[in-house]
């Protein structure tokens, strides 16, 4: 497949992003590895090309644009700001036990748009922009909302320690389900036998004692009522065309009042999308959509997938990542809500291009 053809599609997308008010930026290809590793952990080490530079230390071939774009904005951007970019990203395609017949590319283009703004219409602006650019392709749009998920977890009548543990693992569905089941059961008492083993390693006896104290306090906590587990399961399982999902979510606010604010926000977002000409009835809403992405998005999430291409990654994806932006802005003492997304021009090309 020809690179110039993919580049041309990328340029077409870039032109649409520019027309929407974005300034084009060109982050480096070779990035310091430390920030990315600290944010994403081993997931990214498995997928990114990491190498050693004698002076700069560990460096990485750009595995995604979001981090360098956010850093660039935090260093010298005014607000509100819209950025767009087009360039290669590099990902190892490590196969499981069997090599696939058609392995994905290790090097492919991404065209992206990032919006830094305190404006409540930002989610709808980004979603509608991607929706209009991709309209000729007949893709399936899916939307989720991590706010709903996290507000529902915050609403659980449990101790702060349990709540923090659940929120931490919200992106790891099986671990989350196990924790929830454990909190809903009567705890099995645990004995922490004194060992004669010599203390070794960096973790201190005080750290261990703090965890044992926490576990002992946790053992005295009343089990979480089973109806709360059922409520969460029902909320997480909501999957329907957006207007119908909204109706179901609104019904759930009777049982989980703390999600009301997020439900109202979703309602406003869908209304804004309708105003921008998006057929919201064709958007598939999946309450758990954002739980299957990297630990990254904390508000609206979206993806556009090609029907009948189950083995493909999404043609486009994105969402809100306020927490990530806050972490990256710490050094400058800045935090700004951020929402953005990427399109893969290579997949657009395989689908026959934008017209």
């Amino acid at each position: 497949m020809s690179k110039p053809a993919k580049q041309a599609i990328g340029q077409q997308i870039l032109a649409a992003f520019r027309a929407a008010g974005a300034i084009e930026v060109a982050p480096d290809i070779l990035l310091p590895a430390e920030t990315l590793l600290d944010l994403y952990g081993e997931d990214i080490r498995a997928r990114a090309y990491v190498t050693q530079d004698p002076i700069r230390g560990e460096v990485m071939l750009r595995p995604d644009f979001t981090v360098p774009v956010v850093q660039m904005h935090m260093a010298n951007g005014a607000e509100p700001a819209r950025y767009c970019y087009l360039g290669e990203i590099f990902r190892k395609q490590d196969h499981g036990e069997t090599q696939p017949e058609h392995p994905r590319d290790n090097e492919y283009l991404q065209a992206g748009f990032e919006l830094f703004a305190r404006d409540s219409g930002a989610d709808a602006e980004v979603f509608a922009l991607f929706h209009s650019i991709l309209a000729p392709l007949g893709l399936q749009a899916t939307m989720g909302d991590m706010d709903l998920v996290m507000d529902a977890v915050r609403a659980l009548p449990v101790s702060d320690a349990r709540r923090a543990a659940l929120l931490h693992h919200v992106w790891r569905p099986r671990r989350f389900a196990r924790l929830l089941a454990r909190f809903a059961a009567a705890p099995a008492p645990r004995n922490f036998a004194e060992t004669s083993a010599l203390w070794t390693g960096l973790r201190s006896p005080q750290e261990m004692q703090a965890r044992i104290d926490r576990l002992q306090a946790d053992a005295l906590e009343a089990p979480l009522a089973p109806e709360w587990v059922a409520r969460l399961e029902r909320l997480f399982a909501i999957q329907a065309p957006a207007p119908e999902a909204l109706r179901q979510l609104r019904a759930m606010t009777a049982e989980i009042p703390d999600i009301a604010e997020a439900v109202e926000r979703l309602d406003r977002n869908l209304a804004l999308l309708s105003d921008r000409g998006v057929d919201v009835g064709a958007i598939h809403f999946d309450a758990s959509h954002g739980r299957h992405t990297m630990e990254y998005y904390d508000g609206m999430t979206f993806s556009f997938t090609a029907p009948g291409r189950a083995d493909w990654p999404p043609v486009a994806s994105g969402g809100r990542y306020d927490a990530l932006a806050a972490v990256l802005g710490q050094a400058q003492g800045r935090a700004i809500p951020a929402v953005g997304g990427i399109i893969r021009p290579g997949l657009v090309h395989e689908l026959g291009g934008l017209r």
């Binding site: 499981g96 004194e194 203390w199 261990m208």
Partner: protein, 225 residues
């Protein structure tokens, strides 16, 4: 001519020679102990190549040998998509070793992987960096921890004396191969979880890339496989 690759030294080589001898094929080193060529008696058209066990996966993948003996741990760690490159013909019943995750024995609050996941989260909050696991089995350990949904850790490379990294404060836990667990105990470490990451043993493997499948299968039949 079928090229058979076998570990070039130590107990693994001897057990390998015994395994073939029990099936009527006598393998031996040609000439001195220092020479890496071998002799084959009891089979036509088979030549013996003595190699480091760690190189055998790569030689099988490249098709430079038709058959090879190495540990299942090395095949799975070193060959991405290993089933596309090699066929497992026979587990050989020796070279048993488990790839395990071990933590300081003094961590009396750490018995299961769930404990480990929580400790990793606490450690990161306390120390500002991810809990370090020293290993040379990067792909296997990462895939396993990802499947088990453990986060908040990082792998640090350790190609030898891995059990010492915890006392040296360069890692908080290790993932390594162990057979008896003696080295772990001597270094004040304990295995966590009830199942190892991988149970490994010596395996006779057929290279897909080397071809000559008919001849190789005929030889396998002669070995009673």
């Amino acid at each position: 001519m079928i090229r058979l690759g076998v570990p070039s030294k130590g107990r693994l080589m001897e057990q390998c020679f015994d395994w073939f001898a029990a099936r009527g094929v006598r393998l031996s080193r040609a000439g001195s102990d220092r020479e890496y060529a071998g002799r084959v008696e009891g089979a036509e058209n088979v030549s013996l190549i003595l190699l480091s066990a760690g190189e055998i996966p790569r030689e099988l993948q490249a098709g430079r040998i038709h058959l090879g003996v190495t540990g299942t741990d090395l095949i799975r760690e070193k060959l991405a998509g290993w089933r596309s490159h090699v066929e497992e013909l026979a587990p050989m019943g020796f070279g048993h070793a488990d790839l395990i995750l071990a933590v300081p024995a003094c961590w009396s609050d750490c018995e299961t992987l769930d404990d480990f996941a929580t400790i990793a989260r606490d450690f990161r909050a306390e120390h500002g960096f991810r809990l370090r696991i020293a290993t040379k089995y990067h792909r296997l350990v990462r895939a396993w921890l990802s499947e088990e949904e453990v986060a908040d850790y990082q792998l640090v490379d350790s190609q030898g004396a891995t059990e010492g990294t915890v006392a040296n404060l360069t890692a908080e836990a290790i993932a390594d191969i162990t057979s008896s667990g003696e080295t772990l105990r001597a270094n004040h470490l304990k295995i966590i979880g009830s199942e190892p990451i991988l149970r490994s043993q010596a395996m006779l493997l057929r290279s897909v890339a080397a071809g000559d499948e008919g001849e190789v299968r005929a030889f396998a039949r002669q070995l009673g496989l």
